[in-house]
Structures are given as C-alpha cells and as structure tokens.
C-alpha cells in the first residue's frame, strides 16, 4: 500500500477509494459548461422575451458563451489523455453511455445553436467588414460571409427570423446542455452524494446564476476598458435577473439539503460529518455563506433601498464575484466532495491538489483564463458593439 495514500485516509476506506480519480479538471468542466449555458440564457432573454434593457449585453453574452464552450471539453481531454480518441465518440456513438452521448449534445449546441446564431446576428457586420477591410482580413471576412454580400432589408429580415427560431431552439438546448452535466452526476447511483434527480435541475439553475454573473462582470469590465459609460438600466436589469435566478437556485439547493436531512438515509451521518469537517470551508463558508447568502443579500439590498449609482456598481461587482466563486465552490463540493467519503460510510480520504502537474492547479488556472483569450480574439474579429465607422460606410 502506498504510504502517502494511507496517510491521507481517516477511518476505513476501500483501497480503490483512497485516491481521487476526478481532479480539479473535472470541477472545471461543469463550471465552464455552466457559464456557457447561463450566458446563453441571458442572451435569449433579450431575443425571445424581448427584454430591451439587457440588449447591450446580447452579443457579448453570445461570444462569451462561444469562448467558454470551445474550452469546455479541454479539461476532460487533459484529464483523460489521448484527445484524438475523443473523436471516436462521434464515429461509434455509444447510446447507452450518458458520458459518450454528451459529445452529441455538445456538438449540437456548438454548431447548430451558438455558431449559427452568432453568424446570423453578425452577418451584416461581416459583410460590411468584407467590403471595407483590406489585406488578409478582407479574405477572412469574405470567407465568414460565405461569399454572399447580400445585406438587403429582405435578407436581414430573414436572418432575424431564422435567428429568432434558433434562439427558441437554443433555450431548451442550453437547458439540455447543462441539465445533462447534472444528469451525468445525478445518475451515478453508487454515490449517494451525487445520486439525486435534483442534480440536473440544481446544476441548471446554478449554471444560469453563474452565467448571468459572468456576463454582468464582463459587461462592466469591457465598458470600463473601452472608456464607455456603463448602461445602468442594463446592469440593474441583469442584477435583478441574477437575484431572481439566485433565489430559485438557492431554494432548490435548500430543498435538496432539507430532503437529505429529513430523509437521513444510511449515508447521511457520513455525509453530514464530511460537510462539517472536510467540506466545511468550501461548502458552508464559500458556497453557502460567502457565495450564496451574501450575494443574495447584497442584490436584495439594491432592490429594497435606492442606492447611488456608484454604490450599485460596487455591489454588483462584489456580488458577481462572490457568485462566481460560490458556484465554483458548489462544483468543487459536488465533484471533489463526492469522492472524499467511503462507500462503507466509515472513512474519509483527502484530495491533494498538485500545482504544476497535468491535473494540477496551474493547468486549471490556464484553462480558466483561456476562454478570456479566445473571447479577446472573438471580440477583435466580431466586435459586439455597433461600429459607427462601418455603419457610415453603408
């Protein structure tokens, strides 16, 4: 027996439980897909439910969703190794494997929903850029326009109609995308920490919460970087939706918790002990208090008393950051927490997070920063704000 492993164990652990197989990279995967689904759902608000106030964030939200979606499978591939084999998931679809079928959910969402919707929404700008730019960029925009430079009223109206239909399909798709991630965990019946039909729903709502918080922060950051005024009605509205989504999410998680406490099945004593010891910091402090009650309280405050613009901005930044951290803690508690206790309910192990190893903290940080780099490129290519100079060229 490995001495170091044995030292990490308290009580009784089956030999195959001592070492955690699902590392921080597996924590990133639901976190990142959640941000995608949440950002998209926020974008859909404007489109389908015609919430005009959030319009300034529509495109930024779509591009953010795309940038994060591109990165979403990378932690899995880094964890498994042999990324070239992930292609086989498509070549030989395994219909009875939830994990294997996720490949199709992912591809559907990426290609049929996000890429198409972004393309349709940006087509006018792409065509204008193809006309006005020079050098290699002209070729890039030409290719993106598929060689069609028809931006007549009629063509654009068509784009809008198709785009609307796509968004309508996109909402259930976004729900599917993240509900599915929750389903993968919730359907592991051997693990009482995961196995609950609530899992897809809780994952979905926490995804919405994290995605909205991300877009809120991104929008404020981009505005500051561009030296633009922050559109207060816009951020106020987003913050309100964040509060609503958060209340639903928090309630659902509360219901789940209450159910577990009242049912108190054979796993309860062990899980309860874990939450009060090994998971105390990440679950009670980071997830529930600092990542849940505090942002909800702060956001509720902005609804109850009228605060100055400056105070609201400060609160949104604080609440948004706390939310992102809280949802990350939630993913951590699910993924890591689910592997810390023994199926015998008699012992616990420890997760040792390495730094510069394949599944260490460093690659995790890089993977979390990567979407921002991709987003930067996307924003350069397809500016989410309306470009006046191009507009004039028409």
């Amino acid at each position: 027996m490995n001495e170091a492993l044995a030292a990490a164990v308290q009580g009784f652990m089956y030999p195959n439980e001592m070492e955690l197989q699902w590392s921080i990279l597996i924590v990133l995967y639901p976190y990142i897909t959640g941000l995608v689904a949440g950002a998209f759902i926020l974008a859909s608000l404007e489109r389908v439910f015609k919430v005009q106030a959030v319009k300034p964030t529509y495109r930024l939200a779509l591009l953010t969703a795309l940038a994060f979606l591109i990165v979403a499978p990378l932690p899995l591939q880094l964890h498994l190794g042999h990324p070239e084999r992930s292609f086989e998931m498509y070549l030989t679809p395994h219909t009875s494997s939830a994990m294997a079928m996720f490949g199709f959910v992912y591809l559907w969402y990426l290609m049929a929903v996000l890429v198409l919707e972004i393309w349709l929404d940006y087509r006018k700008e792409i065509v204008l850029k193809a006309r006005s730019s020079t050098g290699p960029m002209k070729a890039v925009y030409k290719v993106l326009s598929l060689g069609v430079d028809d931006i007549s009223e009629e063509a654009l109206r068509l784009d809008d109609k198709v785009g609307y239909a796509l968004t309508v399909i996109g909402i259930p798709s976004a729900f599917l995308l993240h509900g599915y991630v929750g389903f993968i965990f919730g359907s592991i019946k051997a693990n009482p920490w995961w196995s609950t039909p609530m899992m897809p729903i809780v994952f979905l709502f926490s995804a919405i919460v994290s995605g909205i918080a991300l877009v809120l922060l991104m929008y404020m950051a981009v505005s500051v970087l561009k030296g633009q005024e922050i559109d207060m009605p816009c951020v106020d509205t987003i913050a309100r939706y964040l509060l609503y989504a958060f209340i639903i999410d928090f309630t659902l998680e509360g219901v789940d918790l209450l159910h577990r406490i009242y049912e108190a099945d054979e796993s309860f004593a062990s899980l309860d002990f874990m939450v009060h010891t090994k998971l105390f910091v990440s679950q009670i402090l980071l997830q529930i208090i600092f990542g849940g009650l505090i942002p909800i309280g702060l956001l509720a405050l902005t609804q109850m008393v009228s605060l100055s613009e400056k105070a609201r901005k400060g609160i949104y930044v604080l609440a948004g950051t706390a939310t992102l951290m809280g949802i990350f803690a939630m993913r951590w508690n699910v993924v890591i927490g689910g592997q810390l206790f023994s199926k015998s309910f008699l012992g616990y192990t420890t997760y040792k997070l390495d730094f510069a190893t394949r599944e260490g903290l460093l690659p995790a940080i890089v993977l979390l920063l990567l979407p921002f780099a991709i987003l930067w490129g996307l924003v350069k290519l397809l500016p989410p704000w309306h470009d006046e100079t191009a507009e004039k060229a028409v």
Partner: protein
Amino acid sequence: MSRLFGHKEHLVRMAGLFAAGILVFLLARALFVPKGFGTYGHYRAGALADNRAYPVKFAGRDACVECHTDVPDALKAGKHARIRCEACHGPLAAHAQDPTKAKGVKPDPKVLCVKCHLANVAKPQGFPQIDPKEHLGPNCGECHDPHVPGQEPQKKG
C-alpha cells in the same frame, strides 16, 4: 441580385456547409470505423479472433498435477489447498507443454507471500494477515512451507 436562391442565398450556402460537414463525417465513419464494429456489441467483431489468436499462457492445475503428482498431496494438508498452482507460480503453459524447453519457475517467497497476506483493513477479518514489519522475519520460506504454510519446510540444505 441575380443569385439562384435570391435573398436566401447565404442561408442555402450555410445549409450546404452543414451538409458538407455531415458528408465528411459520414465519409470519416466509413473510413475509420473498423470493419465488423457493432456486430456483437459495442466493439470490433474481429477483436474476438485477435484475442483467440493470443498464445495460451496458463496451463491450468490439471495439467500441472499430471507430472507433479506429489504436490497436490502436500497441498491438501494445508490451507493453500484450494489455490491454483499458477496463482503462485505464474503462467507456465510453455513449461507444461515441454518441460525440457521451458523451466518451471520457483517464486521467491519474500515477494510472493505478502501479495496476498499483507495486512489491510479492507480484507475479511478471518483471513490470515501479517504486517511484515512486526512479523517474525522477511524470509517467509524459512519458517513456512509454501505448499503447506502451517508447517515448517521439510529438509532442504
């Protein structure tokens, strides 16, 4: 606009792109999915023949005792009676086939015994287990006859 599909041209082209993508996918499938995949299950049917073609490595106890008639009698006297020869000796099909070409292997008790007897809380409590640091010495074979572990090894010089 003298295009074939009028104002729908770009949409038709995009649809064409998707169709092309699907076509490439189907081609890739035809190209990369091995023959016979899925005939019996989610694997390549030919894998069965490949596996069958591997040389047999284990001969089985019945083969061993045909020649080593004395060992089963010895084993019967102790608690190792129900353990197959090759669980300890390793795969010896080649030896059983022709003992002149491939020699039988005598496992080193120092390495072998702890593979099964190292103390571990996960093992059934009734199973004899030792902690080598606390037990009587590393050379298990000095005090235990591997075939009859409850006995001291006979003779030997």
